[in-house]
Assembly symmetry: D2
């Protein structure tokens, strides 16, 4: 099985690479929807942990520290990885889900309107 | 500004669409790194909320209910949206970060080795 | 069954009141350890959601708005409720756990030492 | 300053002990409401992390493993600690908040009614 990660940034290709990676390690029995949402939220919280004691200014500047920047990059990768695994497990196309949500949000939050 | 969502599933194109969407609504002042990690974790928890009282069997079958399935799709879209906004704000290429993490994990978790 | 909430702030009494409340509603089958940790983290994130777009100054002043202040109070109640349910389910005394952790932290973080 | 943890399980006394502990370490500038909600959610997620790959049966039995059980106890302590610090910072009595929420929930979820 070729599990060389794809060169581009296409979500379908990244999803296939992650699925192959998990299959080679026999992780599918653990990767139930319930467990994957838990893991996704845990990884998101590991991003929060990096930022929790930083001032807004320090947070803006987080990538200027190489170690901390690398830590942020890795946690972003982990969140993306579990998100793609979850979507794949549930048969959801995350790119299409995002497009559909943008259309819905464009109505809910008209451009030019004040506030969040 | 053309904010038509892109047709494909390329992360760079999706990121550009989301950035344009936020810019048109003047959300950038709110979209600091610290706030975006908070929002990302909140959206991940909204996924957890859908699954928290379900049995493993009900969780596996979550997409068979149209309303609940659409809810899951929307929350996956929200997580992806904030993840791309955060990565964009920090100058991180999430596809490259994922590839790099897979290389690192391939060493940490050799294929065929037992356990997680 | 008397489920009048206790008048004081004793954790053991609050725990007993919550256990009786759940029992009367037949929630125990849902209140497994795995589900309770999920619910606890979801409630904690609902607190985060209140604060995510606020400036530090607005966050400091959150209780001056009656509606928002009441929302914060309710979410703090929800976190405490699930925390006590979880501890009770696992046979953990949360007050004793906290005391033990403080003793451990007093060694890890000596008073007067700089930094976090 | 006497920061001996209190012997009982009274929330007000535990709160005072934690406040003194933080003050002795000069942590108050970090313990803003925004930062404390982040830390609270991170600690809740550290509990989730312990349970994420466990089967429901393994999760029910989590305390039978001494190391894992101690880990759970410590994370419960951490969640309680930040919850009390947050409530204290915001001037909220968490026991009273819980009682008020129970009264509200008793109306929302009448005893004997089916379902969650």
């Amino acid at each position: 099985m070729d599990t060389t990660p794809p060169a581009g940034s296409d979500l379908a290709e990244l999803t296939a690479a992650i699925a192959a990676f998990s299959a080679e390690r026999h992780w599918q029995p653990f990767h139930t929807p319930k467990n994957l949402v838990m893991a996704l939220s845990v990884e998101a919280s590991e991003l929060v942990e990096i930022f929790q004691w930083l001032t807004p200014e320090q947070a803006d500047d987080v990538m200027s520290d190489p170690d901390r920047g690398e830590h942020v990059r890795e946690e972003i990768a982990d969140v993306l990885s579990y998100l793609l695994s979850l979507a794949n497990r549930l048969g959801i196309d995350p790119a299409q889900a995002l497009r559909d949500k943008m259309v819905k949000n464009a109505i809910k939050y008209p451009a030019g309107a004040p506030g969040l």
